[in-house]
Every structure is written in C-alpha cells, then in structure tokens.
C-alpha cells in the first residue's frame, strides 16, 4: 500500500458538503461526531477546510447552483480521495428527481465511492458505510500488491 493511501485510511479526515439538502442528513452527520456515536474511534475527524480532507461527504440533491461549487471543491481535494454520498437525495435526488433545479444526480458529476441510502440514514449506517469503504480500499490495495 502506498504511503499516501495508508495515511488516508489510518485517519480519514472528512469534509462535509451539503448541496442543497433539507438539513436532516447534515444533522445525522453531525450526530456521528457527537460522543454517542463517536466517529473519532475510527480516526475520523471533521476537517474545516477541503484542503485538509481525505473523504468528501456529500448530502443533498445537487441543484444547479451548487453543482459548480461541488466541482470546484472536488478539484481542491488532495488526491487520492474518497467520495461518500449520504442520503436518498444525493443518491438519486429522491423526491426531487423531476425538479427543474436538480438536473443530474451526484454520481454523474463526480465519481462516488460509497452510497449510503436512507432519508435520512442513521448515524450507524453512515459509520458502517465509511468503515466498509475503508476496508474495501485496504483489501483492494493489498490485492494489488
């Protein structure tokens, strides 16, 4: 495993981006960070700046105005990075699929590594999703070697 990838998986710093969600997924993401669910057990830490982040958590249905911001943020993440789509809206735009303001789903804009469904997903589901993703990447890297 490359040093970069090892460092990324040992303690993935997450950056939380809402692309026009109803805020419920954001509350669940916030719950993950509280002592009850304590995502820091896995070395995950909420980064204040995208330039410090390894994992991009995206919630919301990607409306026309936030798509440009999303692309700009994705360009700024240090690579390799992982993208996690949280909630039904960022998976398939949920009930906003026919909205004039949500033309394309998230995975048509940037590559997504893991999808966590739910409206909103429980904090347990978010943690499980991210842990699964880390294990998967570790396995893949080991297989390559």
């Amino acid at each position: 495993m490359s040093v970069k990838l090892k460092a990324l998986l040992k303690s993935p710093w997450v950056f939380h981006l809402s692309t026009g969600s109803c805020n419920n997924c954001d509350i669940e993401v916030l719950d993950c960070l509280t002592p009850r669910f304590d995502i820091e057990r896995f070395g995950m830490l909420l980064a204040g700046s995208i330039k410090h982040a390894d994992v991009l958590l995206v919630t919301g249905s990607c409306n026309r105005k936030s798509v440009a911001r999303l692309k700009r943020l994705y360009e700024q993440v240090p690579k390799p990075c992982l993208v996690v789509a949280i909630g039904e809206c960022s998976l398939s735009r949920g009930m906003f699929i026919h909205s004039y303001n949500c033309p394309v789903p998230l995975d048509k804009i940037i590559p997504v590594d893991v999808y966590i469904p739910g409206c909103p997903p429980k904090p347990e589901a978010i943690i499980a999703g991210v842990v699964k993703l880390i294990e998967r990447v570790q396995e893949k890297a080991a297989a390559k070697k």
Partner: protein
C-alpha cells in the same frame, strides 16, 4: 382595536377597490383587490393601520395568475391576505418595494419564477435562478416544459 373594527376600517377605506371579502376563519381573511389599486391598499394597511407585511405569494391557477399579499395584525392575531388576480396575457402590477423594503426580494423571486412584471421595482435582477437559465422560461408556471437536454430524469436502477 379588535377584529371587526379592523375589517370595518379596511372596508371603509378601500370600498372602491375591494372586489370580494372572504372571511375564512377567526384568524384569516382574504380580500380581493383590483390590480391597479394594490399600492393604495398596501399603503392603507401598512402605513395607516400599522399591519406588518409578512410575505407575498404568487400562484399559477392555469387560466389566471394570483398574487396574495399577506399582512398581519399581530396584536389581534389576524392575517389579512390581499388577493390580486392578473390575466395571463398581461402579467403586470405595481411594485410594492418602494413602499416597504420587505417586498423587494419576493417580487424578484416572483418575477423570475412566474414571470410577473413589477413596475417601478428598484432592482430587478435574478435572485434564485442560475446564470445559465434561459430568459423567458418560468419554472413555476403550469405550462413549464423541460428545456435542459442534458437533464437525467431516471433513477438509474
């Protein structure tokens, strides 16, 4: 000041401009107003009677367009909605933004989403829609059609 006095005063002051009064409930009254006298009516409620301007809402009712201006009398817990009906071929009304600043943004929003022209608005720019949105397409109208050829409208499963 109580509810009946307020309604009586409105009826008295705007008697030539009122089309109909619909007394929905103890807290809610709808008053139909002629489009040309909306500024006078708003002036009367806001300046003379001390009502608070909550918000305005535009509704597309297929054969016509409606704007509801919601005013509250907070001390007596009454919401008065001035209802203005505009024909589809002439979507124009006087702006209320010079009267109170609170009408500024909602009129900009109604302008871009429904295509209603507000005469005398001080700053009619886009508020919500992105720059690439084509001119003359109004998303909240009933006859809105998808214009974006790149839009994906299936869930992919």
């Amino acid at each position: 000041m109580d509810r009946d006095l307020v309604l009586k005063e409105i009826r008295q002051k705007l008697k030539d401009d009122i089309l109909d009064v619909f007394d929905k409930s103890a807290k809610r009254v709808y008053i139909g107003i002629k489009p040309e006298s909306i500024r006078k009516a708003a002036q009367c409620l806001f300046k003379d009677m001390g009502a608070r301007f909550n918000i305005a809402s535009g509704v597309d009712v297929r054969d016509r367009m409606e704007i509801l201006y919601h005013f509250t009398f907070e001390d007596i817990n009454l919401l008065v909605s001035l209802r203005v009906t505009l024909p589809k071929d002439k979507l124009e009304i006087e702006s209320l933004a010079p009267l109170f600043e609170g009408a500024n943004w909602i009129e900009r929003e109604m302008n871009e989403l429904l295509g209603i022209t507000f005469k005398g608005h001080p700053d009619m720019r886009r508020l919500l829609l992105p720059e690439e949105w084509p001119q003359g397409v109004y998303p909240l109208r009933c006859d809105y059609k998808e214009w974006d050829k790149d839009a994906v409208r299936d869930r992919g499963v």
